[in-house]
Symmetry: C2
Subunit: 300 residues, 2 copies
DNA sequence: ACGTTTTTATAACAGCTTGTTATGCTCCAA
DNA sequence: TTGGAGCATAACAAGCTGTTATAAAAACGT
């Protein structure tokens, strides 16, 4: 009378209601007829009313049972859906990933990686939030996001970071005389107007150090925060630039040419995630995918 | 890996997610901590991913588990609702009853019986369908309705009927000289214009037989199908009538007076239901209530 | 109406689920 | 380092869920 309803009983009732006989219901459920018989007699005892009536040879749910069947159906459907979702999660076909990244990644490299990743994972959804590096760090600490892509990261106790060095290249518009060179160094850029990142960035410091070492003056033309902006400006003939090969690759099809820059001044990316918050398997999977997508551009 | 999800496991997961500790979840569920521990370790094994993470002393559902929890919550809610509904059915507080009746009942006696019946059965709903007796019979045979109230029923193999004889009374407007009589008989109505039911009805036949036996002429004024129509006409002073006491009672407060009619010519009601279709308990309950409501008006 | 066949109910039993208690492990805080 | 809180594990009891065997009941065909 007070024992809880069991799923198996509901399944049995539905199967009999669907098939009109316990024998067929049993084979539908893949069990024997006496098992069904007892499941239903137990359920009937517990509920306190008759579940089935005989009508010209068929077993038909009683009016009381019919009243409950729609809800039973829904519960069983939802259980089936839950099972399916669980399996999808196990097989990494379902889940949600929140990614914070530099604005440049949101438009250039990340979308294609996400697209590849989602292609065979229909149940997975992704949030991409572009912002400044400081904000990305905050988000990692606050555990608002699962994964972050940033640069110039000095480390933080609450953040797990994996550093990736990306090769840098010199970019110039089509037809520029630098196209004749195998590699480009500071001495090749003497007098060339240069578009570069902000002077307080690590990347600019490394670049100007290289010029300094070779005793070449760096002709600063434009300062910008994003590599993609530099690409656009170079495309329009406003100068040349040294940027991450990753961004240069995106612009190769749009008429931007590039050559390896020497000496090597890696663009330092950091793949970060909250260290306190355990990552879901799908997140780890994605981070792995993302790291792999960077392999062709890694230095060493 | 292939064993089905069990409700108990879902309950345990939800309880731990809610309370942040297995110990508290266990007491919430009214079981011991090791039971919860194993339920969850089983579930984790079956699903193939971690369900819980430790976060500064609390157990927190993993991202994967969080993804499933809303659905789990809904399933558990629906199970609780189903249990509640089942108990309501057992206690006759839920269900649905389809009633077919003569038009007169739909407006006069039935509504108050239904209202009383539903008063303490909040989950019960009722359909009332008024129509002609022949149609009511069809509905019973077709099992479209659970219960029917009709008259002049000759019986049918597919229909279970219970006959109820209702006393008949002579009705007349307030101030009519018949108010002086204890009972009214044909001789009292000599020359009075009489409003009566259709000539082919059993009730009219019984009435005219009574007049014939006492050798009194029946002065027919208006013929109508329904007793309630007769009441309205009598109220307006168009004559007197002999009708079921049941209908007369409804009009007592509206200025219609009545006296028992002698000889007794019962109005024959039939309470019918499909014999092949098993009645729900709530239906049987209602039929009983309805029959009881007729008791004050029954003849013998 | 009768015997045959189909279907459902019951019984006895095996294995798994779900609870118990007892106890060990781990982590954190005094 | 020690104690306490909380979780995991083990061993076991009871109950659920399945089995086979068989009885009982209903449906069906002559």
């Amino acid at each position: 009378m007070k024992s809880p309803l069991r799923l198996r009983q509901l399944e049995a009732l539905k199967a009999v209601a669907d098939h009109g006989s316990m024998t067929r219901a049993a084979s539908e459920l893949g069990i024997t007829q006496p098992a069904v018989s007892r499941l239903l007699s137990d359920l009937g005892d517990e509920l306190g009313f008759a579940l089935l009536d005989r009508r010209d040879g068929r077993l038909v749910p009683s009016q009381e049972a019919r009243y409950l069947l729609p809800d039973i159906q829904r519960i069983l459907d939802m259980m089936a859906r839950l099972s399916e979702t669980s399996r999808a999660i196990t097989e990494k076909r379902a889940g949600h990933i929140r990614i914070a990244c530099l604005p440049g990644f949101a438009t250039s490299h990340l979308p294609s990686v996400v697209a590849d990743f989602l292609r065979h994972r229909p149940g997975v959804s992704v949030t991409i939030e572009p912002d400044r590096p400081e904000r990305i760090l905050e988000w990692m600490i606050g555990e608002d996001y699962d994964f972050g892509i940033t640069d110039s990261f000095e480390g933080h106790p609450a953040v797990d970071s994996q550093r990736v060095d990306i090769r840098s290249v010199c970019i110039f518009p089509e037809g520029h005389w630098l196209a004749d060179r195998e590699t480009v160094g500071p001495s090749d850029l003497a007098g060339e107007p240069i578009i570069h990142t902000r002077r307080d960035s690590g990347f600019f410091k490394a670049l100007s150090d290289a010029f300094l070492t070779e005793r070449v003056a760096l002709t600063s033309r434009i300062e910008t925060r994003q590599f993609t902006a530099a690409c656009e400006l170079v495309l329009r003939g406003l100068g040349v630039s040294v940027i991450s090969e990753l961004d240069a690759a995106q612009y190769a099809s749009r008429g931007l040419q590039s050559r390896p820059f020497r000496p090597r001044i890696p663009h330092q990316l950091s793949l970060v995630r909250p260290i306190l918050k355990p990552a879901s398997m799908i997140t780890l999977d994605f981070i792995e995918s993302f790291a792999a997508s960077l392999a062709p551009f890694r230095q060493d």
